[in-house]
Subunit: 167 residues, 2 copies
DNA sequence: GTCTATAATTTGATAGAC
DNA sequence: GTCTATCAAATTATAGAC
């Protein structure tokens, strides 16, 4: 993948996680990189194409990051918690697929599909650590991100999920 | 409050809960009611005014609905859970302030403030039923709504929150 | 209170030159 | 691959008639 293409995805990912699918534009991305919006369309014909590609990459990267955290000795739940905590602390960003899921049926089908695939993976992943509780744990993690962003207080996510450390 | 004003708020609330703040327009509301968008501006000068008013009313109504459920014998946690479950089942709608919180810092300050006030109320309310666990429980409820919408399966919210019944 | 009309801006997207 | 130029549509919002 070209540098330019991945640079576009980087900016798109950050903007979606900050404002949602309906809260970013091709021009915003182009301006930030220093190109024209027509050039963004060369790499991604439509907005749905771009968002779906970003969501797919987000899931793949998340899988890798989980693997790294686990290889370093973290439990699965702590790995998930740590990745979300870092995103919030560093840039105040939601889980990409959490905010996409919240925007619900206003999304193009291909984007909704990728968001759903991530959440399905999340449930299965957390079920490995806590059989039958993956869905409940992912719910708590996603909801905690959402509330933490509203509070704009770094300790909120930690407080909201601290009981998960015991699992 | 006039009928027209509340009718506008009704449509706005449904649209925000379905698509988010950045996913609805004055024209959409006007078309649905059968008036012109300029008339919507008569009642609410700006989009931020409208969304903030809707969020304030949402919280007031939620307080009332909780009181009703509790008067009918429901525990506080079951009351919250039931209200969210009903919204999902009937119209596939998110918690208004959950989706607003997810959209984060792209919102006008007055709208973000109302969303935050609702979530703060939620934590305090749930803390009464489970001291020290209100934030964790609200997180789980909000996250479960978000995941349930992505799954488009009515049983997901129930599964994701079933353990809360025991509290 | 609602309308017509319109302004000013933004948006997603395309055609075609280079 | 990126640009200029442009389009058609949508958006928030206002002025002023009725």
């Amino acid at each position: 993948m070209s540098d330019r293409r991945s640079a576009i995805m980087d900016v798109a990912e950050r903007l979606i996680r900050a404002h949602g699918y309906n809260g970013f534009s091709f021009r915003e991305i182009a301006d930030e990189i220093g190109i024209k919006s027509a050039s963004v369309h060369y790499h991604f014909p439509t907005k749905a194409d771009l968002a779906a590609a970003v969501a797919k990459r987000y899931r793949e990267r998340f899988v890798d990051a989980l693997g790294t955290a686990e290889a370093q000795g973290a439990g699965k739940i702590e790995a998930w918690r740590g990745l979300f905590q870092n995103a919030l602390n560093q840039d105040g960003l939601m889980c990409l697929c959490g905010i996409l899921a919240a925007e619900g049926n206003s999304l193009p089908a291909e984007v909704a599909k990728e968001a759903h695939a991530f959440l399905k993976f999340g449930v299965e992943s957390l079920d490995e650590a806590a059989p039958g509780r993956g869905l409940a744990i992912l719910s708590q993690l996603e909801g905690a991100m959402l509330i933490a962003r509203s509070a704009a207080d770094e300790s909120v996510f930690q407080d909201a999920t601290k009981e998960l450390s015991a699992l």
